[in-house]
């Protein structure tokens, strides 16, 4: 530890080892006892015309800024700019994503509605302002900078504890070693040290391994960008990389696909020979196929089944006809029309391109349908006829019988005579 008196002696600065082999003078560092004295001294230094000096304290000392002549920082303006940019950028981002690149139709609401976009614009504004304050403050202070000539003074280690310093840089044009020290001494310094720059050239350059590490890590960091840039400008037949495939690719075969395992190279396996799948026995020839025993083994039935397979009685009643009407209107009318005359929407439209499409008139008394047995009609619905495809896959058996009944009703209705009027009908 030194006293102001010691400091008149040029060779002593209270920090013996550090001064050995020092380089050029960086500045002088004066210690003060209290924050109040620091402020007073700082004012004296400023009034003496120094500009390149700084005060150091463990906490922000009240009144030091005007004493030193520190100008108000422009940081708030920069931060405002940052926040403004953030808010506008947040709006622009949302507009681009939701109103431009990928519009969302939600109940027909407008694709761009400011009120719902305010919260994110607000958060973006705050986020960018915060980042600007944080990084802007460090940048303006030229930190991080972990080395500094003043750190070489052991005494300076107390600046973060209980001590107060003024450092005047030798680069100041008014700097004069003796006169500057005298000024600080008069201002109430309790100790004054000379600070020198490091003069060992080996320590002025960065260690080689740090340089190598920085170059290597920077180069590595660029690799992903290079790959992305290449991928954007080139074509590839390879599929995208799925980092998380989830269930996109499953180790299973889907129906009707090729498979090497079986001799027929098909993944589908047919029914096992001699077996019938549950519920597919279809023993009742009359109900399932419209056949009854006849002269040559079987013939088409002219009636209806007596029972359903579950034993319920099959009745040709209003309920059956209503059901038949509904099914007919769904499946048959596109071609045959609601009245069964073969004037549905499909032939009507097809006719616009020329008479290439003929549909059977179901109700014409001269039509084959008029005299066709019920069983054959049922079979035609099931398996199709000429260009008509079978409807077995779409219409259950019971509904096909209902349609047969309804076609018969249509034939009767479309060919009605005066005697068919309800008032003429015999009960």
């Amino acid at each position: 530890m030194s006293t102001p008196k010691d400091n008149h002696d040029e060779t002593s600065n209270g920090n013996g080892e550090a001064s050995n082999g020092d380089g050029e003078l960086y500045g002088v560092l004066a210690e003060f006892d209290t924050p109040g004295e620091l402020v007073t001294a700082a004012r004296k230094v400023k009034d003496a015309g120094y500009t390149e000096f700084d005060c150091f304290s463990p906490f922000p000392v009240h009144g030091i800024d005007p004493a030193m002549g520190v100008k108000r920082t422009i940081l708030p303006l920069v931060i405002f700019g940052g926040g403004f940019t953030g808010a506008l950028g947040g709006l622009a981002l949302q507009w681009y994503c939701n109103a431009h690149a990928w519009t969302w139709n939600i109940s027909g609401k407008p694709t761009w509605s400011i009120p719902a976009n305010i919260p994110i614009a607000y958060e973006c504004g705050i986020l960018l302002a915060v980042l600007t304050s944080f990084f802007g403050m460090w940048a303006a202070n030229k930190l991080p900078q972990v080395w500094h000539p003043f750190f070489r003074q052991e005494r300076f280690g107390r600046v973060t504890d209980d001590s107060f310093f003024i450092g005047i840089h030798a680069s100041d044009e008014r700097f004069d070693h003796a006169r500057t020290k005298k000024l600080l001494e008069d201002a109430g310094a309790i100790a004054i040290d000379d600070c020198h720059r490091e003069n060992d050239p080996a320590r002025k350059t960065m260690p080689k391994w740090i340089t190598a590490f920085i170059i290597a890590s920077t180069a590595f960091a660029l690799i992903p960008f290079a790959i992305a840039a290449k991928a954007r400008t080139s074509k590839s037949s390879e599929p995208h990389i799925h980092i998380f495939p989830d269930m996109d690719f499953q180790p299973k075969y889907k129906s009707d696909t090729a498979m090497d395992l079986f001799p027929d190279d098909r993944e589908n396996r047919g029914d096992i020979e001699g077996t019938v799948a549950r519920g597919w026995l279809e023993e009742d020839d009359l109900f399932y196929r419209g056949l009854v025993p006849g002269d040559n083994g079987t013939q088409w039935t002219t009636g209806f089944p007596a029972t359903y397979p579950d034993g319920e009685k099959f009745a040709v009643d209003d309920k059956l006809l209503e059901r038949g009407q509904k099914r007919f209107n769904i499946y048959c009318t596109p071609c045959h029309g609601y009245d069964g005359r073969g004037q549905g929407m499909v032939p009507t439209r097809a006719a616009l391109n020329g008479p290439t499409w003929s549909v059977r008139n179901l109700v014409d008394p001269t039509s084959v349908v008029a005299t066709m047995p019920n069983g054959q009609l049922f079979n035609t619905i099931s398996n199709g006829f000429n260009t008509m495809l079978g409807y077995a896959a779409q219409i259950p058996h019971a509904d096909r019988w209902a349609i047969v009944a309804y076609v018969r009703a249509l034939q009767r209705a479309q060919n009605a005579t005066a005697e068919d009027r309800p008032d003429q009908r015999t009960p």
Binding site: T3, P58, P60, T73, C97, R158, D161
Partner: protein, 466 residues
């Protein structure tokens, strides 16, 4: 290091220096003590065990799927979202202490702001886990970030409150971390200089890198204080917006018990209430263990009790308002929801947690005797923590379990993985906080010095030893 040297100093150091040195020494002692307190070690061990249980539960959750939780079609948001809201709320006290009390020049905050900010960060980290895990496939969480992608330029839906959540919570975490770290830099420099003086080189390098070369320059302090003030100014609207946005997740929906405009202020008041309870839960034992009773003074504890009393009564008032509106609106679903909260299958959540914790407890703080009985305060704070968790669950889980259609009703019970993840986040939170309390400057040293009467010593008006 310098006690002996200072005594040998021919210039008798003033009382001011002694006071500054005492602050540095007492705070640094927490990190410098050669052996931590046994209670600290035991607490750390327990919290690490709890954290490990949480990691195991998360592993099971991710490996098997969300089905290991008790969530169902009816109660689709259950413990996970409850915990998210609860943790976020706890974080709010830290920002309130560091930012709002800074702006309102409440100097008593300097003793607790650092640890409260650390609490905020760890609480937000715990909170952030839950929505992430709730997605079921957290590896797709990047879908919430507006990144160009090869999925047919699919972008996030920015008009969804869930996206607002993503932005609000991310901004909040970023701001809290930067605010906390920036406030800590001068104190890290203090630690650095002490380690240099004591010859602890490795610690000196670590603290040195973290301190960014801070040297207490007045020109630096000038910009630093400006930036700190502005950060506080930015954090204040942010903290109010975050819990408002969280409450929008509920308020913008149609569900009875959720669809109400009172939510944003109600949630924010509850957040501050629960956050202060958590600050006290942590600090009351630690100020005793680490001998910081003369820095975190009893009057600071009393002040925090007053804040809890105020915010707690705001929460009680919000309950009253909700009940009034449920009746006054004439909406039968709304009315049913609130009757169901009190007398339905989850009646105990309402009475034992919400009512006891958030309506009854604040009334205790009228008493001077209670405000000076730290053991009782600590117990009350635990009750408040449970009560606020109960409130979040009553709003989320209980409302969902009985919404419009009785055919949709169901009960909710958590599984051990619900419990495991929740306990795990508590373990993580405590572990991080205990580590922070051992290795970082737990009290804002420079701010305490700046707020002390000695900060003006030697000045022309107050006068030091001159």
């Amino acid at each position: 290091m310098s006690t002996a040297a200072a005594e040998a100093h021919p210039h008798e150091p003033g009382k001011a220096r002694e006071a500054f040195r005492a602050v540095t020494r007492d705070v640094a002692w927490v990190a410098e003590a050669p052996k931590p307190h046994k209670a600290w070690l035991v607490a750390l061990a327990i919290s690490i065990l709890a954290f490990a249980w949480g990691i195991y539960s998360i592993y099971k959750l991710l490996w098997t799927g969300i089905g290991v939780w008790g969530n169902s079609n009816t109660v689709a948001w259950a413990w996970d979202i409850t915990n998210f809201v609860w943790w976020i709320g706890i974080g709010h006290a830290g920002t309130l202490i560091s930012a709002v009390l800074y702006l309102t020049r409440q100097t008593w905050r300097v003793s607790i702001n650092r640890s409260a900010e650390a609490m905020t960060i760890f609480a937000v980290m715990a909170a952030g886990l839950f929505p992430l895990l709730h997605t079921g496939r957290p590896w797709f969480a990047w879908w919430m970030i507006p990144l160009p992608n090869d999925m047919g330029s699919m972008w996030p839906q920015f008009r969804s409150p869930l996206m607002w959540d993503v932005f609000a919570v991310t901004t909040y975490l970023t701001t809290s971390v930067l605010f906390w770290y920036m406030g800590m830099v001068p104190d890290l420099a203090t630690f650095r200089d002490r380690c240099v003086a004591q010859g602890k080189n490795i610690r000196a390098i670590i603290y040195g890198v973290l301190a960014l070369g801070w040297r207490g320059s007045a020109r630096h302090w000038h910009r630093y204080e400006r930036a700190y003030l502005i950060l506080a100014g930015l954090a204040t609207p942010l903290v109010f917006s975050v819990h408002s946005v969280v409450s929008f997740d509920f308020a913008t929906s149609q569900n009875p018990g959720w669809h109400t405009t009172i939510f944003p202020p109600y949630f924010v008041a509850g957040a501050i209430y629960s956050g202060f309870a958590m600050v006290m839960t942590l600090l009351l034992p630690l100020r005793y263990l680490f001998n910081l009773k003369h820095i975190i003074k009893q009057e600071h504890v009393v002040a925090m009790c007053r804040v809890m009393m105020g915010t707690g009564m705001m929460v009680s008032f919000a309950y009253l308002t909700e009940f009034f509106i449920a009746w006054y609106s004439g909406n039968p679903f709304e009315g049913f929801t609130f009757l169901n909260r009190c007398f339905g299958p989850f009646w105990w959540v309402w009475w034992l947690m919400m009512f006891a914790g958030n309506v009854v407890v604040p009334q205790f703080f009228w008493s001077k005797w209670v405000k000076n009985n730290n053991v009782l305060i600590w117990i009350l704070c635990i009750v408040v923590n449970i009560g606020m968790w109960g409130e979040r669950f009553a709003i989320i889980g209980v409302s969902l379990s009985r919404s419009f259609l009785p055919s949709n009703w169901s009960y909710y019970s958590p599984t051990r993985y619900d419990v495991g993840v929740f306990v795990g986040t508590i373990g993580m939170f405590l572990m991080l906080f205990l580590l922070f309390f051992r290795f970082a400057p737990v009290i804002a040293i420079s701010e305490v010095k700046g707020a002390s009467p000695e900060a003006h010593a030697g000045g022309p008006s107050i006068g030091g030893h001159h």
